[in-house]
Amino acid sequence: MVILEVRKVVKSFGGLRALQDVDLSVAKGEIRAVIGPNGAGKSTLFNVMTGLLAPDTGNVVFDGEPITGLPPHRIIRKGIGRSFQITNIFPRMSVFENVQAALFSHHGTSRNPLSLARGFTRIGEEVLGILEQVGLAEKYDLSASVLSHGDQKRLEIAISLASRPKLLMLDEPTAGMSRFESRETVALLQKISREQGLTLIFTEHDMDIVFAISEKIMVLQQGAVIADGTPAEIKANPEVRKAYLGEEVTEK
């Protein structure tokens, strides 16, 4: 069953075509990588899919519903979670509060101005459950800003999980992590996907990770899809090789 369908999306900035007729179809529960050299349009594609940018033409269908051009907060409510390349957490709040804020929003309690936040024990338990899932339960009362980079990334994933997404989009989930931290994060993502049937779309520059966990890989170059297939197919694709190593420079 297809959960996300991107059809013929075009997005230009001034004269620059950041995305040209991009098509993408992701099945439920799939782990899908989107790769490509710098400036290939990965972030633009993510931004279009999560409503930060509206495409010039083309559309995005999620779970059978068109979501093209909706603002981020509405798209999130439909079940798309996102984590960012630059760690995107609430730094001067505790680990617990970070996830709690996400759950309040998910349960529609954010608007309640008169009850005490800590009175929502059910939500509190849910917070701890999610923190346990990502391995941060012990650090619940630390300020998010003092966590190690790897832990901050986990926290970000925890925040994204709190809105109970059907699809999670991750922008370079292991950027800036030590080898050990990135191995752990990858294992975590695989576990979550397996246990909850969660669909993952991610970009990543660490090719070991891309090839270790993706079921399918899409390659973008200068805004266009140049390949889309299984890891084996991508490895064998000469176009992809050229995109990464550059063309032979011809003598003038």
């Binding site: 790769i35 050299p37 710098n38 400036g39 760690t87 966590l147 190690s148 980079h149 901050q152 370079e172 950027a175 800036g176 992590m177 030590s178 080898r179 520059h205 660490d206 090719m207 891309v210 090839f211 390659v219 200068q222 991508i234 490895k235 992809v240 090789r241 990464y244 190593l245 550059g246 063309e247 032979e248 420079v249 011809t250 003598e251 003038k252």
Partner: protein, 235 residues
């Protein structure tokens, strides 16, 4: 001791550790490539050298003098020029003004770069002299940022992904430029993903991946080293 040395440089962005014990050694007059995929740490290496992201440990030594810890403008005045990857020419300044702001008089140089010499090297810039930086094409902006940095009379030029996003013809032109710049006696350190481009202009290369140096050797060896290419550069 080489002309420019990086000794076990470790650099962080906030709390995230980006460079792990990076050591490079560049001789005077060389063109050296720093190859690696997106996010491998190439730009951070450059920013560590020029002082925009100073290393937390390790040192950068230029002509026998430790420059790590100095502020960027001092490092520039010592003779290291940095051309960033996203072509940051000053958009509200004309081409000529972009060049003029980089002129430095603090340092005595035998044959300083002048606007005339720059125009001889980049004739296209002369044609667009009166245009604003924001009105140039990608290739022209790239030339302008390189030319602007040359105006500071660098002895070492750090070029960050100059070929990125340029049409093949422009890339070929760029390769010629780099060779010409080298002939003028400037040492070049080139960060690139494009292996063939590097092979054309440089003698030696480093391959960097996940913030540490994985390979070092002549470009001719690297070109035929399928294992390194497979593992760190291709997919």
């Amino acid at each position: 001791m080489a002309f420019l040395d990086l000794n076990s440089v470790n650099t962080y962005y906030g709390r995230s550790h980006i460079l792990f014990d990076v050591s490079l050694s560049i001789e005077k007059g060389e063109v050296v490539s720093l190859l690696g995929r997106n996010g491998a740490g190439k730009s951070t290496t450059f920013r560590s050298i020029i002082g925009l992201n100073p290393p937390q440990s390790g040192e950068v030594v230029f002509k026998g003098e430790r420059i790590s810890g100095m502020r960027a403008f001092r490092i520039c005045r010592k003779g290291i020029g940095f051309v960033p990857e996203d072509r940051r020419c000053f958009p509200d300044l004309t081409v000529l003004e972009n060049l003029e702001v980089a002129i430095r008089r603090e340092k005595e140089v035998a044959s300083p770069w002048t606007v005339e010499r720059i125009y001889a090297l980049f004739p296209r810039l002369q044609e667009r002299e009166k245009n604003l930086g924001s009105q140039l094409s990608g290739g022209e902006q790239q030339m302008l940022t390189i030319a602007r940095t040359l105006m500071t009379n660098p002895e070492v030029l750090l070029l960050d992904e100059p070929s990125e996003g340029l049409a093949p013809l422009v890339v070929a032109l760029l390769a010629e430029m780099i060779l010409k710049i080298r002939k003028e006696g400037v040492t070049v350190l080139l960060a690139e993903q494009n292996l063939h481009f590097c092979a054309k202009v440089s003698d030696r290369g480093y391959v960097i991946d996940k913030g540490s140096v994985k390979y070092e050797g002549p470009m001719s060896d690297l070109l035929i080293n399928e294992e390194v290419k497979e593992k760190y550069l291709a997919v």
